[in-house]
């Protein structure tokens, strides 16, 4: 059996930047073991599989090792493939996923994800700063730790101890600081516990970052940059309990895979 395969760089408008996702459009569901084998073979952070269901689509994400509950960049990549190649001109779509229904809207070349905002509260865990190798000026607790620094350089030069970080209790660690030159804040995201030492561009981290920065800066629309080696760019809006995460995408590869 031959299936189409796309490789899309999401949360960027530049090739080889952002976060790479495989996208496999299907007519009907595939056995889970086959999707997992394809995701392992692709060896990208995530491969998305989707097929039509009702007015929208059923969407699932696989890392090389396991099925994932929520993945922003592979959702942007899927919306890109649909609106660019499969249903040109379509501007709105909804995906049924393990995390419920996710809406995506295309505005020009920007894809806007509608995700739930995460609860945040002050945190106290000295091991977080120790694992990051630099004490943050403020620590916030959410589904991941949010370590706040004073300067872009403080975040850019972090060299975490991933073994120590993997022992922390929450999912991962987001490091952030104010931005400059039209960027409101910068961040990096580490999740060694999930097998990802550093993620290049993380949509879902904005669900923690936006409630913090919107309050601190007194504005609900913010531009953010993930300063990983590949660099991710986000146009975000906090709307009540929701975070709208906007990003661009570019196509690196179009092809077809053979599945025995």
């Amino acid at each position: 059996m031959e299936l189409p395969l796309y490789q899309i760089d999401a949360f960027t408008n530049k090739l080889f930047a952002g976060n790479a996702a495989g996208v496999v459009p299907l007519k009907a569901p595939l056995p889970e073991a086959v999707m997992q084998a394809i995701a392992l073979e692709n060896n990208l952070p995530e491969t998305a599989f989707f097929y039509p269901e009702g007015e929208g689509y059923r969407l699932r994400w696989f890392s090389p090792a396991v099925e994932i509950n929520l993945c922003g960049h592979a959702t942007v990549a899927t919306a890109f493939v649909i609106t660019e190649y499969l249903e040109r001109g379509r501007l709105e779509m909804a995906f049924e996923t393990k995390s419920g229904r996710l809406g995506v809207e295309r505005k020009g070349d920007i894809f806007v994800l509608d995700f739930p905002a995460r609860q945040i509260k002050p945190g106290n865990q000295p091991a977080v700063g120790a694992a990051l190798g630099r004490k943050p000026v403020e620590l916030v607790e959410s589904y991941s730790w949010l370590a706040v620094y004073e300067s872009w350089e403080d975040v850019a030069t972090l060299q975490p101890d991933f073994e120590a970080m993997a022992k922390l209790d929450l999912f991962g660690v987001i490091a952030t600081s104010p931005g400059r030159d039209g960027i409101d804040y910068v961040s990096r995201f580490f999740a060694p516990k999930a097998g990802i030492n550093e993620d290049p561009a993380t949509g879902s981290a904005q669900c923690v970052l936006m409630p913090y920065w919107a309050k601190r800066l007194g504005r609900n629309r913010l531009t953010s940059r993930q300063i990983s080696s590949r660099v991710g760019d986000f146009d975000c809006e906090l709307a009540g309990e929701r975070v709208k995460i906007g990003g661009r995408a570019v196509c690196y590869m179009r092809g077809s895979i053979s599945v025995a």
Partner: protein, 261 residues
């Protein structure tokens, strides 16, 4: 610019087995930074790039982070792409590489690489057994350590401390044991220092394994299996000063990549 990209599973005849390689046929070389960026984006163990040169080809291999100086599975992947898609019917080709000229012959569905020997000599380093979490019956060293165990299961069940393996002085650690059921020997290969915790199917490790097993078993033609999760299969022959490593391949993906420039 649009370029073809193939993904070939090498050293296997089963989809999703063996070792995947990216293969990019070129008319002339791309800038090195572009080839490196493509290899990083593909995120396969190696991506091969090749250009025609007279009757043969020039071939280079890139891991996601650096250029590699020898790579068996991506050479097999390249030979498969040439003889299957670009010049169907061609059964002989050679590649000029960072490791000199490499010949490949195709017979039926079997591709045979002709590689230099890298015989191992007896070695002593207690840190190898400690890093592997099991004491080998015999330890030798070439460009990598060769740790010999008594049984297939000893090799299959190893859970090395990869950090300790990375701290060892050589390229990596090969572990091996006698095979059974038509397989003469089994092996696994750990090279965390080069960014490869465990390689799924390694052609070049047979440059070390074949001199050892041919002498021990008293035969020059041996069948080997790499018992990684994906499993690699090798038909090997030791000649006077070379090793012929035969393997099969399947095409997993064909596509086009879109690169600036």
């Amino acid at each position: 610019m649009e370029l073809p990209l193939y993904r070939i599973d090498a050293f296997t005849d089963r989809m999703f087995g063996g070792n995947p390689a990216g293969v990019v046929p070129l008319r002339r070389w791309l800038p090195e930074a572009t080839m490196q960026a493509i290899a990083a984006e593909n995120n396969q163990a190696e991506t091969a790039f090749f250009v025609p040169d007279g009757e043969g080809f020039r071939l280079r291999w890139f891991t996601p982070t650096v250029e590699a100086d020898l790579c068996g599975h991506a050479t097999l992947g390249t030979a498969f792409v040439i003889s299957e898609f670009l010049e169907p019917g061609r059964n002989r080709m050679w590649f000029d590489t960072l490791s000199g000229r490499l010949d490949v012959q195709r017979a039926g569905d079997l591709f045979t690489l002709d590689l230099p020997l890298r015989p191992a000599s007896p070695a002593t380093n207690p840190a190898v057994g400690e890093a592997l979490g099991a004491e080998p019956g015999e330890l030798l060293a070439s460009v990598s350590y060769l740790a010999v165990f008594d049984r297939w299961e000893d090799v299959a069940h190893l859970k090395p401390n990869l950090r300790a393996v990375a701290a060892l002085p050589l390229d990596g650690v090969l572990v091996t044991a006698p095979g059974r059921d038509g397989v003469d020997f089994v092996a696994r290969y750990f090279a965390p220092g080069a960014g490869i915790p465990e390689d799924p199917a390694t052609g070049s490790s047979h440059c070390i394994l074949m001199p050892y097993w041919a002498k021990r078993l008293g035969r020059n033609r041996l069948r080997a299996r790499q018992i990684s999760q994906r499993v690699g299969d090798f038909d090997c022959e030791l000649t006077r000063d070379r090793v012929k490593i035969g393997g099969r391949a399947v095409c997993n993906m064909r596509g086009s990549i879109f690169v600036d420039g």
